[in-house]
Structure formats: C-alpha cells, structure tokens
C-alpha cells in the first residue's frame, strides 16, 4: 500500500527524543515485565504479611494470611482475559493486514452479545431448558452469532474502509470511530441505555472444583472452553491453509502479494470475517459469563482488548492471547484491591507505560508505526 498512498508513512527519525530512546534501551522488555509483575507481587506480599479480610465471623473480621485471594484474582482475571483475548485477536489481525485500528471492533463484539441474547429468546433457551437442549441451543447461538458479527465486520470494511484505502490513514481511522458510534447507537436503540440482565443459563457463578482454596467457577471453564479451540483453529487456518498463507503474504507486503496473484481485497475481507467471528464468540461468552449486556460494553471491551493487543505485540496472534490474559489479571487485581472505579485508569496507565517502554509489545516485531 505504501507506494500507492499519497502521503506515505516514513520510517521514524533516529534523532527523535534521544533521552526516551535511552530509557527504552535500558528498560525495554524487562522494564515492561517488571511493571507487569509489580501488581501481583506487591499484593501477594501484602496478603502474606498483613493478611486480608476473608469474611466476618461473629462480628470480628476474619484475617487470612495466604495467597488464595491472589489465586482467586488470577483465576477470575485469566478467564476474563480469555474473552479479551478473543477480541484482541480481531484487532491484531486487522492491524497486521491493513495497519488500521478497527475502532468499531469492540462494538461488533457488543452486537455479538446482543445477537446471542436475542437468539436465546428466539430459541426458547431459559433456566428450565434441559442440559442437552442448552448445549445444542448454545452451539447454534454461537455459530449464528459468529456469522452475524463476521458478516457485519466484512460489511463495515466494504463500506467504510475499502473506499479509503488509498486516502491518508487518518481518514479510515476516523470512519472507524464513526462506525463505532453508529453501532453503539444501534445497540442503544435495540436494548435501551442501561445494562440489562440476561438469564444465567449456565449458572456461571457455580463452583465446579477447588484448587488450593481457589474456587473454579463454571464461567471460567466456559471462557477457556470457547477460547482455546477457536485460537487453535485460527492458528491452524493461518499457518496451513492456502487462504491463511495469502493472509500472511498480504500482511507482509500487499503490493507484492497482489503481483503474486493473490486477491488482496478478498483476503482483507477474509481477515475481517475471521476477526468478526471471534468477536461474536466473545460476545456470547461475555453474555453467559457476566449475565448482563449493555450498549456501552463494546466500547470499554474494545479499549481493553486493544491494550491487550498492543501489549502482546500488535499483528501477533499469540501476543494478543498473552496480552488478553495479562490485562484480565491486571483488571481483576485492580477491581478487588483498588476498586472497580479505578480499573479503567489502571489499564490505560499500563497502556501508556507500554507505549513509553516498549511500543512493539512483549512478542511483537518492530513496526513502521511504533519503531
């Protein structure tokens, strides 16, 4: 694409901010890892030395001195992170291939949630449905939701990004933001302005088993049961199939890929389809796990997932999964220790720290954008 744009993006100048470059050289990857480890290590030590209030017995606070609260934070965070990972893959795939932050992606995820919840009602899934019917119904819901969000994502690409592919990059970023707002308002008109609770079909808060005092809930298992097969299927698709090879080639050099006979437009559409499908799956899991949906969930989730994608190294599927899991844990730690009202600020603080310390992320390659 670089050769066809009117204002090509140059490589970063070497002279820029020499002091910051020095910081990065010394801090770099280890600085980022240290920053990521800081929260769990600090709270782990504080739990062991000062203890934490585990409950109230006969009017007295029950203080524990062990790591099970931290373990609980991790379990909750990792399973939340599995959802973020699914969304983050969508960001990373799209960014890898056309270098665009698909701002509307989080809202596609929200539409996925809404579609899934709407389908439950249509299929008659409720708290009284038998286990077999529930599994079958949820599978159908999963497939339909993935198809809906996948096609929605393809449609957005066709309408809003493809006409602007040769325009300055700012243009498509702005249409992405515009589409994000349009989808949000579609959601607003669809299900109203406040969070709506949905039937807790799988009893997501029920404990299945306990490891070392940490209860593993059904919701956690669901999140991983959906995320792991999908990620494996995706990696298989990208690594072995012909279309996957076309995707990788287009990501590396669209112009050369076109010269080699790859249909770049349909490859990009395919990328959006895959990203959208994963977002739809994440939407279903989110609705089952959190048992509520609202139109603004996509915006927040989108920013969190984007942070995850950047943290892992944008353009890198494994990185997106890793980043999603890490962000999930950070979020859960902040939720239970600092209070949920500060979580967003903590996540964004980490985002800025990544940008300063290591813009290419944990596993990422050096990109034109992030030097």
């Amino acid at each position: 694409m670089e050769t066809t744009t009117i204002s090509p993006t140059p490589s970063p100048p070497a002279v820029a901010a020499r002091s910051l470059a020095a910081v990065r050289r010394h801090a770099g990857r280890w600085g980022l890892i240290a920053a990521l480890a800081a929260l769990p290590v600090y709270y782990g030590i504080s739990d062991l030395t000062h203890g934490y209030q585990a409950g109230v017995v006969a009017g007295h606070a029950l203080i524990h001195h062990d790591l099970s609260k931290l373990g609980f934070n991790f379990a909750e965070g990792l399973s939340n992170g599995a959802i973020w990972a699914l969304i983050a893959i969508g960001y990373t795939l799209v960014y890898g291939i056309i270098e665009l932050i698909n701002f509307a992606h989080g809202d596609v995820f929200m539409i996925g949630s809404f579609t899934a919840v709407g389908l439950w009602a249509t299929l008659g899934l409720g708290l009284t449905t038998s286990a077999l019917g529930l599994v079958g119904g949820l599978l159908v819901t999963l497939i339909i939701a993935m198809m809906v969000t996948g096609s929605l994502n393809v449609l957005i690409e066709r309408v809003a990004y493809r006409p602007l592919r040769n325009a300055p990059k700012l243009a498509s970023l702005i249409t992405a933001v515009g589409f994000s707002f349009i989808l949000q308002n579609v959601g607003l008109l669809w299900r109203g302005g406040s969070p709506q609770s949905v039937p807790d079909l799988i009893h997501s808060q029920q404990t299945v088993f306990t490891i070392g005092g940490v209860p593993i809930l059904r919701g956690y298992i669901l999140a991983f049961a959906v995320m792991i097969p999908l990620v494996f299927a995706l990696t298989w698709f990208i690594n072995t199939t012909r279309a996957g090879r076309a995707m990788r080639a287009t990501a590396q050099d669209p112009e050369a890929a076109r010269l080699m006979g790859i249909n770049v437009n349909s490859t990009i559409s395919l990328t959006f389809l895959l990203g959208g499908m994963l977002a739809g799956a994440a939407g279903l899991v989110y609705a089952l796990y959190e048992t509520n949906v609202w139109y603004f969930q996509g915006f927040k989730a989108g920013l969190i997932a984007f942070t995850a994608a950047v943290m892992g190294g944008i353009g890198n599927v494994r990185g997106a999964v890793l980043g999603g899991l890490i962000i999930g844990v950070i979020q859960s730690l902040s939720d239970s220790r600092l209070g949920p009202q500060w979580t967003e600020a903590v996540v964004f603080g980490y985002l800025i720290a990544i940008m300063v310390l290591r813009p290419r992320g944990l596993l990422g390659e050096e990109t034109r954008e992030a030097g």
Partner: protein, 396 residues
C-alpha cells in the same frame, strides 16, 4: 509616537499586500454581523443559547485543529483539556476549596465568600497555562510514536483524566476538601465579573455572547498568525513528511510539544467558559464521545483549515444544540419510532463522519494543500504552485 505610527503603517501595508480588498470587506462584514447579532434575537432565547455554545465549540475546534490539522497528530483525548479548563474554573472561581480565602478582582458579593475567587480573565489565562502544561505531559510519550499509536495514547490520557474527574470525590487533599466533586458537580461557580459592567447572569445572554465572541476572535487571530509563522510551517512540514522535515533542521520535540500545548490551551479556555456558562462543573460531561464530537467539527470543516474549523464548530454546535433538540427531535416519534433524536446524537455524528470521509474527505472548506492532496488534479495544481512561489503557505 511617530515610530509607532511608522510601525503601524508598515503592518498596514503588509496586510494590504497579503489580503485582497474583498477578503477584508468580507471579514469586516462578518465582524459587524457578529457584533450586532444578539440584538436580532431575544436576549434569553434558545437560539442565543445555541449560538453561545456553538461559538465556544468553534474555539475548541480551532484548538484541536492545531494538533490534528496543522501538526497531523491525531488527538482522541481532547476532552481532557475541556475537563481541565472547566475544573480550573471550578477550583479558582467558586467556594469549592472552602478552606482557602483568596480573592482577586471579583464582584463585591463573591469577595465575601469563602473559597478561591479569581477574576474570569485570570482564570482564563490560568486554564490556558494549566492545559498547555498538561498538553506537554500528554505529548511527551507520543513523541516517538505516530499515527494510530498517538491516537491511542491520547485517548488513554483523556479517559484517565475523565476517570480522575469522576473518582476525584474520593481523593482527599486535606482539610476535608476533595479533588473534584465527581458526578455531583462543582456548583455555584462565579459568573464572569468585570468592573464597570457588573456580573453576568443567565437572564441576559448578550454579554456572554460578546465575551465568547471576543475569545473566538482572539483565538482566531492567533491561529491565523500561527499558520503563516515559522512554527506553523514547521507543523505542516512535520505532518507531511517527518523525516524530511527533521533533516531540514526542524526541531521535532519542540515543534510537536508546542502543537500539543497551544492546542490544549485553547481547549482549556473554552472549557473554562463552559464551566461558568453551565454554572456547574460536572464530571459526567467529560466523556470520550465529546473528543470525537470536537474531532468531527475539525473533519467536517476541513482538516487544517482555520475557517473550516470555525464553520465546523458552528455547524455542529447548532446541529447539536438547536437543530436536534429543538427542531428535529420529534421526527422519529412522528414516524412511529419510540425514541428521541437526542438519544442517538452521537450516532448521527458518527454517520456524518463516515459520510464526510467517504464522499468529501477534504471537508466543507478545505485547506488548499489538503484539497490538492485529495483531488485528482494533483500534478497540474502542484505545477501551478511551483510557478507561483509567493502564494501564502505554499512557496515560502
């Protein structure tokens, strides 16, 4: 005295040379219309209210235009400066810090009240300085980044500041005082007061109008002078090709940070005005959607175009505060839909953004350079530019 007169004549001649007479006549006409406009409408009408808000939006739009339009740094966290400007007013122009007793040039009533009460002009300058400093802080981590990554970092800063505004109620700074009043809002802020004129009140909107009109004129003048200055040309050069610009000796760090600082300062001034005009500084006002709203003004007007930013700000201001709530709000209900148009205003702006970008990416009043970039006749137009080295912004 004669020296001053000579200087004035020199300036006058420079203006004569640069600005053709019909342009000056047009500017004069707009100025006269702008000044007498309040007399054409009732002094507390909804239209006056919308006009005042639209003018304040135009100030913000001009500020963001410096960052996004001139320097090409996509800032998605501009709401941060609205917030800081408004809080500057809340902190220094109300009884919020009730332990302090600081008064400077305020109305006789306010000077007896507890809290910090400064004159509105002082707060305006203070807000500009605070926001300029914040702009530099936000700009620092983005120096090595570009494009989308800058957008994300600025967005993150904007969200953090909005979060701090909401949660500031639980941040205690001593003496029982908190950092912000969160969603309750800092209320009972001072109205602007000028010795000889008295305090403004919301029953008569005309003084408010002239105040924001004067602020707009100042900001507009600064913008026009900046665009053609050495700094303005450096911004455009960095936007067009960073490597080439730096190779030509443009100081990257200083130039970018100045763009952030100056853009932020204007946002802060407008924010302070909004604080006093709305009479409350409420954390709920500072949402991400507002950043996009301001960005939409710049885009719709034409990125990098000063008059475009003003027109975009006024247009969206009127659409948002007059057309949608007062004129068109009932249309969905009349068509049988069960919602009000105000509920989906951001969706409407999103739609406008998409349509604008796909159909007319150069905006309503495009900047000359960008129009050339985006239209088909690039080569001949470039050739014309090269032949006419005296054209403003082009050949110098």
């Amino acid at each position: 005295m004669s020296e001053l007169r000579a200087q004035l004549r020199e300036w006058r001649e420079a203006v004569d040379k640069r600005v053709p007479w019909w342009n000056r006549a047009l500017i004069g006409l707009l100025l006269v219309i702008g000044i007498v406009l309040p007399f054409l409408f009732s002094s507390s009408s909804a239209f006056m209210n919308a006009t005042i808000i639209a003018l304040a939006y135009a100030v913000m739009s001009l500020g963001l235009n410096i960052v996004v339009g001139f320097a090409g740094l996509l800032d998605l966290g501009y709401v941060a400066f609205y917030a800081l400007g408004a809080y500057s007013l809340g902190w220094f122009g109300s009884g919020f810090f009730f332990k302090a007793h600081i008064h400077a040039l305020v109305s006789p009533v306010a000077s007896t009240l507890p809290g910090i009460h400064l004159n509105f002009i002082l707060i305006l300058i203070g807000a500009a300085l605070i926001c300029a400093a914040a702009g530099i802080v936000i700009g620092l981590p983005t120096l090595r980044l570009r494009g989308d990554y800058i957008a994300i970092v600025t967005l993150a800063f904007g969200e953090i500041i909005a979060d701090v505004a909401v949660n500031g109620q639980s941040v205690h700074i001593g003496g029982g005082m908190t950092l912000t009043a969160g969603n309750l809002g800092i209320s009972a802020v001072d109205s602007p007061y000028f010795p000889g004129i008295g305090s403004f009140n919301l029953l008569n909107l005309r003084p408010w109008y002239w105040l924001i009109f004067a602020i707009l004129l100042v900001v507009l003048f600064v913008n026009l002078r900046l665009r053609d200055s050495r700094l303005g040309r450096a911004w455009v050069a960095l936007r067009e090709d960073e490597v080439a610009a730096v190779s030509m000796g443009i100081p990257l760090v200083k130039t970018k940070l100045l763009a952030y600082a100056i853009g932020a300062a204007f946002g802060g001034m407008s924010g302070a005005f909004f604080g006093t005009y709305y009479t409350v500084v409420n954390a709920g006002q500072f949402q991400f959607g507002f950043s996009i709203f301001i960005l939409a003004m710049v885009i719709i007007g034409g990125l990098g175009s000063i008059w475009g930013a003003v027109v975009g700000g006024l247009a969206l201001g009127y659409i948002n505060n007059y057309l949608i709530p007062d004129v068109l709000n009932g249309i969905p209900a009349r068509l049988g839909f069960n919602f009000q148009l105000t509920a989906v205003e951001f969706g409407i702006f999103g739609f406008l953004l998409v349509i604008m970008m796909v159909l007319r990416p150069q905006g309503l009043i495009p900047e000359r350079r960008r129009r050339l970039e985006l239209t088909a006749e690039i080569a001949p137009a470039d050739a014309q530019l090269a032949e006419a080295p005296g054209t403003p912004g082009g050949g110098t």
